[in-house]
């Protein structure tokens, strides 16, 4: 089996709290992999360690057959992992289009001298960045919103803009932190279509989500975290029946 991402014995501790304890999981190329768990289970910590925001206390991460240098977030992005944030972190005072254009940074090269001289190579690259950013806005359903400031977009659009910006980095793995949080049913349905499309176009997705309908309907496999430990892994149907999962979500007394 060739895994796109395999995480081995990952540990992260904040003082006395073990946010991640010996987490091992692997994601296959082309799947939608869910990561669920009660609040405070360590899902976002997992994301932050994976994307280099936090440094792991132990364990290793292998991405695309190579050890992932998770020491610096920008190198993680360059390696091909892009993420969105649980609390949306767009560049608020830049237009939607510019936000996506920033996402192209890691796949383009023009430097200071290119910017000042604006030579043919830089002009071509800039035109390509523009075209790609427009195409991505279109892709996530934000065509015609490009000139609006990111902070002025409706909530659902902001979530989708974050996805467009992440896609602009040409990720192999797209890590989404609660993309459906705060969305109504219609917006969630649109999001689901979008995520399926992204997967069908060849990008693997790692999804943290609380919306169980979305998770169960969309994910090929999922892992459940509780108090920093992986307590279950498997297909949605299997996880749903797992006693440990029911206990974690509903409490021991009911199980």
């Amino acid at each position: 089996m060739s895994w796109l991402l395999s995480v081995n014995h990952l540990r992260k501790r904040f003082g006395g709290v073990e946010a991640l304890c010996d987490v091992t999981l692997s994601i296959e190329q082309g799947e939608i992999y869910g990561l669920i768990g009660p609040n405070g289970a360590g899902k976002t910590s997992f994301f932050n360690v994976l994307t280099g925001v936090y440094r792991a206390d132990g364990g290793n991460i292998e991405f695309d057959g190579k050890p992932l240098d998770a020491a610096a977030p920008h190198r993680v992005a360059a390696a091909g992992i892009a993420r969105t944030f649980q609390n949306i972190r767009l560049f608020g005072n830049m237009s939607a289009l510019e936000n996506v254009m920033v996402g192209r940074h890691v796949r383009t090269r023009a430097g200071i001298f290119g910017a000042i001289l604006r030579n043919a190579a830089t002009r071509n690259e800039e035109a390509a960045i523009h075209a790609r950013a427009r195409a991505l806005l279109d892709y996530v359903g934000l065509a015609g919103r490009g000139d609006q400031l990111a902070r002025n977009l409706p909530y659902g659009d902001q979530r989708r803009l974050e996805i467009a910006r992440a896609l602009a980095t040409e990720p192999r793995l797209l890590a989404l932190d609660e993309p459906a949080a705060g969305m109504n049913a219609t917006e969630t349905a649109t999001l689901r279509t979008l995520l399926e499309r992204i997967r069908n176009d060849g990008t693997t997705i790692l999804l943290i989500e609380h919306d169980m309908n979305l998770v169960m309907g969309l994910c090929d496999r999922l892992a459940v975290l509780d108090y920093g430990r992986k307590i279950a892994e498997g297909t949605p149907a299997a996880v749903r029946e797992n006693a440990a999962v029911i206990e974690a979500y509903l409490g021991g007394a009911l199980a």
Binding site: T51, G52, V53, A72, P73, H74, V76, A77, A78, A82, R83, F85, R89, L90, F91, G92, N93, M94, E98, M101, V102, G103, R104, H105, V106, R107, T108, A110, G111, I112, G114, A115, I116, R118, T122, E125, E126, I129, L149, N152, R165, A166, A168, T169
Partner: protein
Amino acid sequence: MSLTGKLKANPAALWSAVALVACALIALPFVLATAGTTWVRVTNLAILFTLLALGLNIVVGFAGLLDLGYIAFYGVGAYAYALLASPQFNLHLPFWIILPIGALAACVFGVLLGAPTLKLRGDYLAIVTLGFGEIVRIFFNNLSQPVNITNGPQGISRIDPIRIGDFSFSQNELILGLNFSGPVKYYYLLLLILIVMIAVNLRLENSRIGRAWQAIREDEVAAQAMGINTTQVKLLAFAMGASFGGIAGGMFAAMQGFISPESFVLVESVMVLSMVVLGGMGNIWGVIVGALLLSFVPELLRHTVDPVQRALFGRLLVEPEVIRMLLFGLALMLMMLFRPAGLWPSQVRRRELAEK
């Protein structure tokens, strides 16, 4: 529709406007010279400060890094010029070699300042940069012992003027029946540099690096997650801003013929920052307006306050300098109340205000 919008829609009007401004700028020094060469000198200093404000705008306006010691780079550029073109070391290199050296020296100092402060933000960065500015000035002041490099508080005098072959920028010359005095010649040279710098600034703003700067200003964590090497890109901002300062400093040394550490005190840093904030952080045109206003208004006051008071009261009641600081403080307060984003804010900030 805004004025700029109308102009863009009508190319003929745009070009006539450009031509009009160009003619005005070309004629300006001769008009000013009729009121006295002082005013040409004042204009030249105003252009120098505009260069500084444009440089600082890269650091503060684009990348959002608050720098309170910016004048240090101006000083580095000025001292680089002075040391390489004066009797101090008996070096007399031509200006087209020294100006780039000055820019490069300032750039190195920009990186030296930037590297240790990369992890600092906001107030903390401001405090360290403020300290840096003072350190550089104190070095200028004390590097006369044990080896005399900067000549200490006495400063360096008899700095070579800019010279191209036999054409010296410090001498009077009659060309086509017009009297080109030293300041008038410098005015054209400075104007040329200013236009180049404005173009550089505009191009940087709409570039891959410019967007990366703005992304860091907006949200550093998200910028990193998008693959921006924030360390490198922030250092670039410091280096670029500092190079602008270095070039302005070199021109300053050449024009004045004399520099001393007193020209590079904290108040000057504050002044340049005020220009950026007053005009409208992040908007190049706003920054230019801010720089010109803060350069000219004090000079106008200096020349009007005294005679007006003498005419009204028969004697001088309040020193022009006192009035200048009073008005300056008042202006800053009014700005904070009524135009917090600056006189001519960047489009982004204007839109922000419109919603409120």
